[in-house]
Amino acid sequence: MVIDDLNAIAEKERAARKKTVIRCCLAAGCMSSNSETVKKNLEQAVKDAGLGDEVEVRGVGCMKLCCEGPLVSVDTQNALYEKVTPEDALELVKTLAGGKTKIKRGDFNHPFFKKQLSIVLTNSGEIDPERIEAYIVADGYQALHHVLRELTPKEVVEAMVKSGLRGRGGAGFPTGLKWGTVAKTQSAQKYVICNADEGDPGAFMDRSVLESDPHSVLEGMAIAAYAVGANQGFIYCRAEYPLAIKRLQTAIKQAKTLGLLGSGIFESPFNFNIDIRIGAGAFVCGEETALMASVEGKRGTPRPRPPFPAESGLWGCPTLINNVETFANVPPILRKGADWFAGIGTEKSKGTKVFALAGKITNTGLIEVPMGTPLRQIVEEMGGGAPDGGKIKAVQTGGPSGGCIPADALDTPVDYDSLTKLGSIMGSGGMIVMDETTRMVDVARYFMEFCVDESCGKCIPCRAGTAQMLHLLEKILNRQATARDLAKLEELCDMVKNTSLCGLGQTAPNPTLSTLRYFRKEYEELLQPDPFGPHSNGEAKKSQPATR
């Protein structure tokens, strides 16, 4: 494979393009409402109408407005059809000849679409994720060629530093810095890992990227491998994402067939292979050290850092580990330049971020917005606010590691530092909207229960501490707790946060802490009078003899 071959594939693909393209969403959300049959019926209808030479029915990745699925779009009409049933197919194809239809029409001019800025999701809902030619025609693998033939690994790392990209997995560590550390570490063997163990409740960004544009992740990983000097990559994907895994397998096979993965890529001395490892259902395996243990075939438990994976990772070798969305950002950055990317977003958070909008919101789905977009614009304008005239009470970001942002802080720009200041985190991109009917103590209890279930059990604060915190939260909800229990809860939050071994435990108290910070009244309303007096904190006073 040389660049001419790549361009020839793109040219052939362009020439084969038909006049009209009907796109049918084949991502997991729409597929669960039968979009596969919709696509089959559309194909049949096109064939029956004798339009086979003019009209292409294309299965594509996520078309973003998930709540209205199955989604179908027709490019010549600039039309989006919502909640399309298999029976609608015939009627829909008739509209191509000027027929009328009662199928619900969506609006591409709605802020939900208009205010989006796509970098990661550029190909999502546009191309067929199961065909590498479709990715190549969308400038796919051009960045990899540019990097392998024209840049040194050092220049790639420098470009990443310059772009200002920060890790999209949640913590926001500067990507270029991480790449640089791995690149500098001397070792004959290095690895690149893609963390696709997305597990936050309500988050589906990474799944959509993998289902809609798997090649962008592969290309990003290959570029990263060249930059740090690795020859083997792993994608750690949770087993709950069967479609993403299937599409990744297809993509890897196609890339290998074309010589875009494997030995001597683009006739350079660079070799790179990617294997998939499937998670067995543990949330903690999204933590990088636990993930690596799992890849090694061990029990997925975290270990103390340092040493960081960049020094000693998979089988003790230097390992670069990034999230799906981070890797998907890499090809566009190298194709369009670090300066272009650094021009988007805020001073300290560059580029865009994909969010999965869910909860009590009118438009559920996937959005990609520039960093620094006010939260209000996301949930009220784009998301359409709470359904049925409800009032938004809070927005939860960052899943079980994040916090609840109250409605009066909705004007906060969404970037890493602003969200941290509010006691939440950017997280991987889950955004759960809550309206006035939501009890915040319930929310805290829900996330604590999640952490209790998902704690690996290795360190005591996380294993036993979260269990006690859940018990205290349940006590409060059952109106059996006193002010002393609330004090105990807060004390435990502080202790678990500061003493736990890994990120899961260290952030497990966040939903509780943030609801306590903004909605303390809701806790206090549930408290009972303390039979042992208002000032007792549960500690035996020095003057009193110990009772036991």
Partner: protein
Amino acid sequence: MAAKTLTIDGKQVSAEEGATILEVATDAGIKLPTLCHLDGVYDVGACRLCLVEVAGIGKLLPACTTKISEGMDVKTDSERLRKYRRMTLELLFAERNHVCAVCVANGHCELQTLAYSQGMDHVRYDYSTPKWSVDATHRLFGMDHNRCILCARCVRVCWHIEGAGTKNVSGRGAKATIISDLNQPWGDSETCTACGKCVMSCPTGALFYQGSTVSEMERDRTKLEFIVNAREKKQWLP
């Protein structure tokens, strides 16, 4: 190897590069509370009792797995650390069924000793009193899950000193359990060599010799260190 100089609790000490804070502190006569650490077995930093404050680092660091560095300023004792350690112990006591009065290890228990030394005189949390079983199927040893604190010392000695690989951890969170082979009765285990190192390593009364009753479980911990020294350093020290 280069020597590193550091300060622990205001005391200037020097030690070889690669040593952990725990090793250096112990050599300097500073006793840090530990539960998952066992001389002779590699450390995992799980119990969080040996957490220390290091100047300039916002996070608390486990002394057992943190390597020393030049000019490090370590504090092993503070009001905050003492409070966290007491709470950790309280959480352990509330988690399973630790009833010292009827325990085989009463008087020889690391958990009990630590509770005394750290001033944990009562447990403020509600006991969860879970129902755990006792595995008494092995002809020599028994395992009482009610007293297990999941330090995984037994697992580590079984895999890395004896090399039998019988013991393991199954499940997660509070439901995590120490199992034998593929969660079979210990007595049915085909890999167990009945060496007894797991029993020697257990800090509480969870692993015990068959036939021992209240307060009778004394362990010879030095034996493990002896084996490791003999194997790795070829030193047959008594």
